[in-house]
Symmetry: C3
Subunit: 135 residues, 3 copies
């Protein structure tokens, strides 16, 4: 029975491509910054300890660099989830975020949570981006 399931799973192997800043993935925490499957790019939560215009800009620049690896930019982002320990601070500095999107905004959800992976992290942004469909 186990063999059958394993065989079945092997039969349905998918082709994933990963990006993690010069590596394929982070094997310490156990995640990849981007996983590409079909024409979809799933981007991991990208973090800042600093909710300022500069801190926000750095996050989006990191996300953009991750997307660039696959030939995409922030204009390919269709969905954004933003987690922060201080949503009012994020709202105060939203212009820095809006500039990065160049007026072309994704669907978005923002929530204030208790804390993030690193004790001093204050802002984490994850996105889904799409590439054109492969012909």
């Amino acid at each position: 029975m186990f063999t059958v399931q394993l065989l079945s799973a092997q039969t349905n192997t998918i082709e994933k491509k990963k990006f993690h800043f010069g590596r394929e993935q982070d094997t310490t925490a156990g995640y990849a910054q981007v996983v590409k499957v079909d024409n979809i790019l799933y981007v991991s939560g990208t973090v800042s300890t600093d909710i300022s215009s500069a801190g926000i800009q750095r996050i989006y620049q990191t996300i953009e660099r991750s997307l660039n690896y696959f030939g995409a930019s922030l204009q390919n982002v269709v969905k954004e989830n933003l987690y922060t320990t201080d949503i009012e601070a994020m709202k105060t500095h939203n212009e820095a975020r809006k500039k990065m999107y160049k007026g072309d905004y994704p669907a978005a959800t923002w929530v204030q949570i208790s804390r993030l992976y690193m004790p001093d992290a204050k802002l984490e942004i994850e996105v889904i981006a799409h590439l054109p469909k492969e012909k």
Copy 2:
């Protein structure tokens, strides 16, 4: 080098369609209620200040109206993420939500968080919906 990246990103431009209640998007907060790419509809967190049957129903009616724009309904929703400041209140009034789905439920995750975008918001629901594949 920057030119090459920009060219590459331009080459991979995707076709997005947006809906935001008579507008294309909200340029103040910087998001669109729905972004459609391929046959997927990414719907932004939709909010209520009132966790009651009426408040819950209003959220799903707003989501349904957003989906209707693309010829979809709540039966096209495949994934729901629900964020609330009071999960017990949401559980108490879940029948109002269930009625909206007409017995055809999505995959779902519910979490209780510290707060939402607006200080008085208590409930935020985001969904992913699919349309039939384009031929």
Copy 3:
């Protein structure tokens, strides 16, 4: 007007397949453990009251069993969202999670939230998995 919208929505009916541990879906809380649409598997938040190696392993085994139903395994997971009431405890026991992925990690976001659906739940993990594209 309502008739037109309804007609339009009916025209765009999608084919969903669901899995919920021997049932199609849970009609009490109103969700399905997995909804499959096209070649994408949306998996609901899967819960443990126990942030230990054994508790974490049980969650991933439940997710794996859900994926196996569709001929997929944890190697088909491309995105993970982890919600916990104690992120430090989760970090302490991350090796149990990493073993389940067998060194092939998804894009991931971890956040610490106030509480989950059940009052005593401490850890909830949701994933998106892909199957090979249907030819």
